[in-house]
């Protein structure tokens, strides 16, 4: 087993998907054991792949292998895998979270209809996502990109009896599709000039200045649009909160830990090309900052636990883009990894709350669950603190890294904006925790019937909580080398042009991070502590219009709906008018009517008398003969 077998990680869940999709409904327990076995195998196989990868050379790879897929004329389409430190980080995140989510789902989805189908699509998703990060060329990446989008669509719409779920699935599909078209255009533009889909080839050509500056700029911006769509950056963020209609394990796996970070992964993978046209870096940073701050505000007024977490996810993806825009894949990927662990934990804990309270997820009905659900509560607290960025939990280290690299690249203005976003993060996270777990139950009836969930659900919570605590420590050189890596995170994942980046403790930034986190936490605690809402209610009444704006999420949905109603539907009306009256009535029906009317008139030429026909025949021959003679001269 070595890195060349990394494709097995994707192939095994894919095989499980085929079996489950065809026979899942006939298997015992809906075949959940098969799904878990497949993803557990992938999880287990990751370690020999990692060991092999680290033992080769300097332990940085890259490893690549390809076969010819098809050939058109002289043009060959190779398909292959490419394993480098970024891939390794992604594989670690995907296999770990997918494994935990599969186990958790056994408890969460118990007794749901189409239980087998849920596990089948989870396997398809795991296979596609692993394929996406292994792909060595943009074509294969795009195929996997669309496959994960399909899985997202299928799982958001899992409860397709519910109209809201169907609409959310449709919205997610259409919104990400707008980005996907951008990605496709970008891929085609790059291919047109480079003559290859191979990512490393394209990056090399870009660095050598093979592309024209403007050409590459446009192509990379299109690629970034694809990343924005998938990673739900403003203005494409609207689909992700609605995607919470799906089952909660899906929200944890697809809409927090893995699929939505595909955009971040893509930007980091293509970062050398983005660096060549460094105007794009500013675009990436600004989009990330705007997203982080806007969604931070949007999360304020949400009362659905999952919606708060959804906006938080969008915001944290913004953090990752900010880091990528600062030309620091190490910070971006580091935050991606820690975020995957603690956000998956938060979502699964939210799922545990939903099961424990028998399907209640509105904060206005909850509160005081701490004593009823101690394991869920503790793990949720760990996840919240990690998200808020409290040391020494994972989120602190990665957020701190982002602030440091941001300062290096863009200076104080970007740092202060992101710092503000970090305060917002700590604020809504604390609000979420306090209103769900502390204070008096707002609905005593619900609290009375709340019980802790079974070990099949709390197990994954505890494991992910452990990762949320310790995974940030890999930033240290000593921890990295002890685990067999060449060094700390920044010495494993880095941009070749920048070289490895060892961790340096910067007391000023670390201190500032802590202050920001505590500021958010204490403001939130002052507003919501003890289950009293009078302060926050007064705040809402003090500025009712601002509050309305937050509740309505800055009216993005309304704006888009208006654009669809007046713009697209108006244009469609014109097009449909043209189709109905010009194309159909004039063109299609019109020509038929002309023919029919001509026949109605000309039929009178037919007398039915044989001699008339014979005479026309004879005359015709004479005319042709005369014409022939004249023509020949």
């Amino acid at each position: 087993m070595g890195a060349e077998h990394a494709w097995l990680l994707a192939a095994i869940p894919a095989g499980a998907f085929v079996v489950l999709a065809l026979f899942g409904r006939y298997l015992a327990r809906g075949g959940d054991w098969l799904g878990i076995a497949a993803i557990a195998t992938s999880f287990a196989l990751f370690f020999p792949v990692l060991a092999d990868f680290l033992s080769e050379g300097d332990g940085l790879g890259p490893f690549t292998a390809a076969v010819e897929w098809t050939r058109i004329g002289d043009f060959s389409f190779p398909m292959g895998i490419f394993v480098d430190p970024i891939t390794i980080v992604m594989l670690a995140v995907i296999t770990t979270v997918a494994f935990m989510v599969n186990i958790f789902s056994v408890g969460y989805m118990k007794g749901e209809p189409r239980y087998w189908w849920f596990f089948a699509v989870l396997q398809l998703f795991a296979a596609s996502m692993i394929l996406l990060v292994l792909a060595d060329n943009l074509l294969l990446l795009y195929i996997a990109w669309e496959l994960v989008g399909l899985c997202s669509f299928l799982l958001i719409g899992f409860y397709w009896e519910k109209r809201s779920a169907v609409e959310a699935a449709k919205k997610a599909f259409v919104t990400t599709r707008i980005g996907d078209v951008g990605l496709l255009i970008g891929i085609i533009l790059l291919w047109r000039e480079a003559g290859t889909f191979n990512i490393q080839e394209i990056l090399r050509l870009a660095e050598e200045g093979h592309f024209g500056h403007t050409y590459l700029l446009v192509a990379m911006l299109f690629i970034f649009i694809g990343a924005m769509g998938k990673s739900a950056q403003v203005p494409f963020h609207v689909w992700l909160p609605d995607a919470m209609e799906g089952p909660t394990p899906v929200s944890a796996l697809i809409h927090a830990a893995t699929m939505v970070v595909a955009g971040v992964y893509l930007v980091n993978r293509m970062l050398p090309a983005f660096e060549v046209v460094d105007e794009t870096l500013l675009v990436i940073t600004v989009v990330g900052l705007v997203t982080a701050i806007l969604t931070g505000f949007m999360a304020f007024a949400q009362t659905d636990i999952k919606k708060v977490l959804a906006y938080s996810t969008v915001g944290q993806l913004g953090f990752m883009f900010v880091a990528a825009g600062a030309g620091a894949p190490e910070a971006s990927m580091f935050h991606l990894m820690t975020h995957a662990f603690f956000k998956a934990l938060l979502f699964l804990a939210a799922g545990s709350v939903i099961i424990g309270t028998h399907h209640h997820q509105d904060m206005n009905e909850l509160g005081g669950l701490w004593k009823r659900m101690p394991i869920t509560g503790t793990t949720f607290l760990i996840g919240s603190l990690a998200l808020a960025g409290v040391p020494p939990l994972a989120g602190f280290w990665s957020k701190d890294e982002i602030l440091v690299v941001l300062d290096k690249q863009w200076g104080p203005w970007a740092v202060s904006l992101l710092g503000f976003a970090a305060i917002l993060t700590a604020f809504y996270t604390t609000r979420l925790f306090i209103r769900t777990f502390l204070g008096q139950p707002r609905d005593p009836h619900i609290a009375e019937h709340t019980t802790e969930t079974p070990p099949v659900m709390t197990g994954p919570l505890l494991f992910l909580a452990l990762l949320s605590v310790v995974s940030g420590l890999v930033v240290f050189h000593e921890v990295g080398t002890a685990l067999g890596f060449p060094g700390g995170f920044g010495e494993f994942v880095f941009l070749p042009s920048h070289g490895p980046h060892g961790y340096e403790f910067d007391a000023a930034f670390a201190g500032a991070s802590v202050v920001l986190a505590l500021l958010g936490i204490f403001t939130s605690g002052w507003l919501y502590w003890g289950g009293r809402l009078d302060r926050s209610t007064r705040l809402a009444e003090w500025q009712p219009r601002l509050y309305d704006m937050l509740v309505n999420k800055f009216y993005f949905d309304e704006l888009y709906q208006a654009a669809i109603d007046y713009g697209i539907l108006g244009f469609s009306y014109v097009v449909s008018w043209f189709d109905r009256y010009v194309v159909n009535d004039t063109g299609v029906d019109g020509s038929a009517q002309v023919t029919g009317y001509a026949g109605f008139i000309l039929k009178h030429l037919q007398s039915g008398r044989l001699p008339h026909y014979a005479m026309s025949l004879a005359l015709g021959v004479v005319v042709l003969a005369v014409a022939g003679l004249v023509m020949r001269g």
Binding site: Q606, S607, G608, R609, L610, P611, A614, A618
Partner: protein
């Protein structure tokens, strides 16, 4: 040796007579006979030209035999139609059979 022009002239006269019969006559039997005349004019043309172009071979004569065979079949069918017409209409006048239209 009779020159080719004579054969062609005879064939032309026969064909013109046939056309006249088809166009001018009202009796279906006579129309048929006109058609036969035209066919025979064509056969004569075939035979004459074949003998003129390549006297050793009988290609034109073979064609003439084919035409005669087909004409026999055609007359058999046409006479059957005429008999049906006569049974239905009690006439063999082609002007009476004017239903072949819209």
């Amino acid at each position: 040796m009779v020159p080719l022009e004579n054969y062609v002239a005879l064939s032309g006269i026969l064909f013109a007579l046939g056309v006249y019969a088809v166009l001018a006559r009202r009796n279906a039997i006579l129309v048929l006979m006109g058609i036969e005349l035209m066919l025979n004019a064509v056969s004569l043309n075939f035979a004459a030209f074949a003998s003129y172009l390549d006297p050793d071979r009988v290609t034109g004569a073979v064609f003439a035999v084919f035409v005669i065979t087909v004409a026999a079949a055609e007359v058999g069918l046409a006479l059957a139609i005429v008999i049906r017409l006569f049974r239905l209409r009690a006439t063999s006048n082609v002007d009476e059979a004017a239903e072949l239209k819209w």
